[in-house]
């Protein structure tokens, strides 16, 4: 079962890479990178269960956090052109 899940995740990674390379707009690329990060988390989790090294799950958690923060930074860059500003109405 884990093997099937891994294969499915790898196929999805291929699709995400294709979208990152082709992506006509910026938002396609951002979304593809975000999905790729999520797939990396899932791939590591699947590998962890398949090989019995469950300590790899910690790495998967770190990836999830980094992925989230990175995407927030990228979107802030696009919305404001810099990182140091807050939301609407705040300095």
């Amino acid at each position: 079962m884990f093997v099937a899940a891994t294969v499915a995740i790898l196929v999805t990674m291929v699709l995400a890479i294709v979208r990152t390379l082709l992506g006509p707009t910026v938002y396609d690329r951002i979304l593809a990178v975000n999905m790729f990060g999520t797939k990396t988390v899932l791939l590591i989790a699947a590998i962890a269960f398949m090989s019995g090294r469950t300590d790899l799950l910690d790495i998967a958690l770190v990836y999830a956090l980094i992925n989230f923060i990175g995407i927030v930074a990228v979107l802030k860059f696009f919305e404001y052109g810099e990182f140091s500003r807050g939301g609407r109405g705040r300095p």
């Binding site: 093997v3 790898l10 291929v14 990152t20 590998i47 790495i59 990175g70």
Partner: protein
């Protein structure tokens, strides 16, 4: 079916595809995104190779901090790379191929991965494992190697990273926003 090998080959193939795309692309934002994917892939390769600590560092520094630094640099520069008339690519191509061939040739002499009789497991590693807790007094062997046995090495590395951080802060222009406290340092 050898799934581990398949995953290795696929991840490395992804990395090659992305590297070629980075070279051919002109949109700098897209290149920053691709670098993030590249870093995630290499961290995945490290994970498959059972190097969990390296994968941690690669994910935090490569996919996290350096992507943000690249985007911060992009706010200071143009979005598009200016196409430059390149010279004859023959000589660089030869140099790259010769270097690559030398590296592949060098790997033929390396011990196999996980080989218990490799020199790395016989030189000082047994002493670290057996005596480090008595000699240093730190339960974690990696910590005692980094902070005590190789203390000067670690000090030098930290100095290099500090210098690089200061240089990046200076280049990215912290001076625009005057603050009371010093800006935080990235590792």
């Amino acid at each position: 079916m050898n799934l581990d090998l398949t995953i290795d080959v696929l991840l490395l193939a992804f990395m090659a595809v992305i590297a070629i795309a980075v070279v051919r692309m002109r949109d700098l934002f897209g290149i920053a995104m691709l670098f993030s994917v590249f870093s995630l892939l290499s961290a995945g390769v490290f994970t498959v190779m059972d190097a969990a600590d390296v994968a941690f560092t690669e994910a935090a520094v490569g996919a996290g901090v350096s992507t943000i630094l690249m985007l911060a640099t992009l706010t200071r520069t143009a979005r598009e790379e200016q196409p430059k008339r390149s010279r004859n690519p023959t000589l660089p191509l030869i140099v790259v191929f010769v270097t690559g061939a030398l590296l592949v040739f060098g790997t033929s002499d390396l011990p196999r991965m996980g080989d218990a009789s490799a020199p790395a497991h016989h030189h000082v590693a047994p002493r670290y494992i057996e005596d480090s807790e008595r000699e240093i007094g730190i339960p974690n062997i990696v910590t005692s190697v980094l902070a005590s046995y190789r203390g000067y090495d670690t000090l030098g590395e930290t100095t290099v990273i500090f210098t690089a951080g200061v240089a990046v802060m200076a280049l990215l222009g912290i001076r625009r926003r005057r603050r009371r406290e010093e800006p935080g340092e990235e590792d």
